[in-house]
């Protein structure tokens, strides 16, 4: 009663009217995250490390609240109390089902990464914990906004928020030369790719008749005649920018070094959150082209996909460092996802979103395992994992599940994601069988290096470190980070669960795509 009276009074003020008219409530997750990052920043001024460590809890609380608000928004689509798909803040942000689903996956992934980073940050750079979470939340805010950005300016600002915070976070271990190198490389490549992306966006601005909004693109593109060449040019430039973010070949060259050098939680962040947000951005920007420069767009994305699959899988064969290997594997996965993007149909994009969801859990799980392995063995070399099953059988089990998921072996979610994706592409008009065959071949090649790790862990002779672990037995003083274990278990549950109950996930992502298709363009079939 009281609350209603207060909210009624507030809504009468001009600011309240503004919030109401511009649907600011649908930006609740972003607002919560902004508030959280300011709070963690305030905590970073605290003088004791104990106080600083509290910023982890605040970050977690903030992201959980954001998750809840996203779920509440999701509810609206089914209860029908309000028209749920709304453009927010003068059309800058599109709060449709696509953005809600994408942000849901994103927030889940972010919570997992928070769990990954707790111990890591507290042991590596304890005096700068608060700043770490502030920057992580800033990057996450950029990713969240990128999922719904419906305007070039908004999208670019969100992309830069994500990018610049990531550049800093990759160089977080300042005493480590590799981390510094990673940061510098990422910064230089990122700056160039942003510039190229901006060129592309400027061309599209011209094509759309002087509007920065994505919403007017379908109409403007269908009206304009003879823009094939210009649209292709713009698409090439935009794909260069997006290709950098999702680490697709030939824009992948930064990936292995940055993945190896940066702190492992940040590597997981880059491979999961950045990639997901960039793909949703690509979906939003490229669907208006589905009807116009269709063949060109499909061809260009298909080329990127083929390059990525070949480069990623072939280069991964020879890797000995686990983080580098996962880096190349992420390039390969970008290739599979681009196969889905190239088809540009409702089903293929839905399957792409589902693939991204499963990929979040599999890849975060893999990185969590790599972190546990690093804590256990103090090495990132694959040879150090040899014979680990004799010391830590449960860990080996979990790691194997993640690797099998990434390889796409049945029962895990990875298989179904790949299956749905390739199926939808085959069924689409533009389904290019050649690309599908290459994708299948690439998946087969990838089996070698994923299974190789499992082989080493299971039947290899125990390495020096593993022998030490066996020797310590139960007297070991080593204690596993609880949050890291929790994250691994959650990833495990989702990797298996999405495999078994995958159909529902696919349904949600396809309905998200149909909602997106209805609000943005009629071009999607």
């Amino acid at each position: 009663m009281m609350l209603e009276a207060i909210s009624y009074t507030l809504i009468q003020t001009s600011f309240g009217q503004f919030i109401y008219n511009q649907n600011l409530a649908f930006l609740a997750p972003e607002l919560v995250i902004s508030l959280t990052l300011l709070m963690t920043f305030a905590l970073s001024l605290a003088k004791t490390q104990v106080d600083q460590a509290k910023s982890w809890g605040i970050a977690l609380l903030g992201s959980v609240v954001a998750l809840v608000s996203i779920v509440m928004h999701y509810q609206l689509f089914y209860t029908g109390q309000a028209s749920a798909s709304q453009s927010v803040m003068f059309g800058m942000f599109e709060a449709d089902l696509l953005s809600v689903v994408a942000r849901f996956i994103l927030t889940l992934g972010f919570i997992l990464i928070l769990h990954l980073s707790k111990r890591y940050v507290e042991t590596r750079l304890p005096s700068q914990t608060g700043e770490f979470y502030t920057l992580l939340l800033t990057a996450f805010l950029g990713a969240l906004l990128l999922c719904g950005a419906n305007d070039m300016i908004m999208a670019f600002v969100a992309l830069e928020t994500l990018g610049i915070s990531s550049y800093i976070l990759t160089g977080y271990l300042r005493n480590n030369l590799k981390s510094t190198e990673a940061s510098l490389k990422y910064l230089v490549y990122g700056g160039c790719s942003s510039a190229v992306l901006l060129f592309g966006l400027a061309l599209i601005y011209g094509l759309a008749g002087g509007s920065t909004s994505f919403a007017v693109l379908p109409q403007a593109l269908s009206q304009a005649s003879d823009l094939g060449a210009w649209a292709s040019l713009a698409i090439v430039m935009i794909l260069a920018g997006i290709g950098f973010k999702v680490s697709a070949a030939p824009f992948h060259t930064w990936t292995p070094d940055v993945y190896e050098g940066s702190p492992t939680p940040i590597t997981a962040f880059l491979s999961v959150i950045s990639k997901l947000a960039a793909f949703v951005f690509a979906i939003r920007l490229l669907t208006p082209f589905a009807g116009v420069g269709n063949e060109n767009v499909a061809l260009l994305i298909g080329l990127l996909a083929v390059f990525s699959m070949i480069v990623g899988n072939v280069a991964a064969l020879k890797q000995t460092n686990i983080k580098r290997l996962l880096g190349y594997s992420t390039i390969a996965h970008a290739g599979y996802m681009l196969v889905g993007l190239a088809a540009l149909t409702q089903n293929s994009l839905g399957a792409l979103l589902f693939y991204l969801a499963t990929y979040v859990f599999m890849n975060t799980g893999a990185f969590a395992s790599a972190m546990i392995g690093d804590e256990l063995l103090a090495s990132e070399d694959i040879s150090a994992y040899s014979g680990l099953i004799k010391a830590k059988p449960w860990f080996v089990f979990a790691f194997s599940i993640f690797l099998l998921g990434l390889a796409g072996i049945p029962i895990t979610a990875g298989f179904f994601a790949k299956f749905f994706l390739f199926q939808s592409v085959v069924l689409s008009d533009l389904g290019n069988l050649g690309v599908i065959i290459i994708a299948l071949l690439a998946s087969t090649v990838s089996l070698y290096y994923y299974l190789n790790i499992i082989k080493v862990m299971v039947i290899g002779e125990p390495s020096e470190q593993v022998q030490r672990l066996i020797g310590e037995g139960k007297d070991s003083t080593w204690n596993l980070s609880k949050t890291l274990t929790l994250a691994t278990v959650i990833c495990l549950i989702f990797t298996l669960g999405l495999g078994i109950f995958g159909q529902n996930g696919l349904l949600i992502s396809e309905s998200a795509m149909s909602d997106h298709g209805a609000t943005v363009t009629q071009n999607l079939r």
């Binding site: 003068f90 920057l135 800033t138 610049i164 002087g210 040019l233």
Partner: protein, 223 residues
């Protein structure tokens, strides 16, 4: 007539200065040419009635940015660039790619019918009388308020990051940064701990060989 004359003057200056940035014999002169480029771009903004952009260009790029650049150059020493830029192959690649980029931008500018966004005479008169600040302010605080606010968070993050990356985590009391004069120029020297903190490889530090025996020491002292 007057405006087009001014345009050609500033265009010549801008291109000349931009060439100066690339061809200048030292980094300092490159930076100075860059200032001239920024100022001529501000002049272009003015010729297009974008007075706010012009002043912002002068304030942010013309002065703020270049001062920081000059700081960097002056503290690290101004090295002549001639011997480094000599590689013919590299020069060839650079010039081909820049010509290609220029062709790309040029054709895309030509490709669009710029006249499709005409500015009305009344609008231009308003710009002359009131300036563009009002219009920009209104847009920033209505339509583009969300990107504007997000940009402020972006800048906050960048600021925190800059401090984080440059903050010292040393513990000892000895001065980390000392200055000495070599050849009349100020040379900064980092202490070993700071070098470690910044991430230099310690092997690069050229240490003077200590005299091995007392005889040598005496010899040195007598000299």
């Amino acid at each position: 007539m007057f405006e087009s004359t001014l345009f050609w003057i500033f265009a010549t200056v801008a291109i000349g200065a931009a060439l100066g940035v690339v061809l200048a014999p030292s980094v300092l002169y490159s930076a100075l040419s860059l200032i001239v480029v920024f100022f001529s771009i501000a002049a272009f903004f003015l010729l297009n009635n974008a007075d706010f952009l012009a002043t912002a260009q002068v304030l942010v790029y013309g002065v703020g940015l270049t001062i920081v650049m000059l700081f960097g150059i002056m503290f690290t020493g101004d090295t002549p660039l001639k011997e480094k830029a000599g590689k013919l192959g590299r020069l060839l690649i650079a010039s081909i790619s820049s010509v290609a980029l220029f062709a790309l931008i040029f054709t895309s500018v030509l490709g669009f019918n710029i006249k499709q966004f005409p500015a009305s005479a009344q609008w231009i008169r308003e710009l002359h009388e009131q300036g563009s600040t009002l219009a920009i302010g209104q847009l920033l605080f209505s339509k583009y308020v969300l990107p504007f606010e997000v940009a402020s968070i972006l800048l906050l993050g960048a600021m925190i990051g800059a401090i984080l990356l440059s903050k010292k985590t040393f513990t000892s009391q000895e001065p980390g940064l000392t200055f000495s004069i070599q050849e009349g120029r100020l040379k900064p020297t980092l202490s070993a701990e700071w070098r470690k903190d910044v991430g230099f490889v310690d092997a690069e530090v050229a240490t003077e060989e200590a005299p091995s025996s007392t005889e040598e020491l005496k010899k040195e002292c007598s000299l």
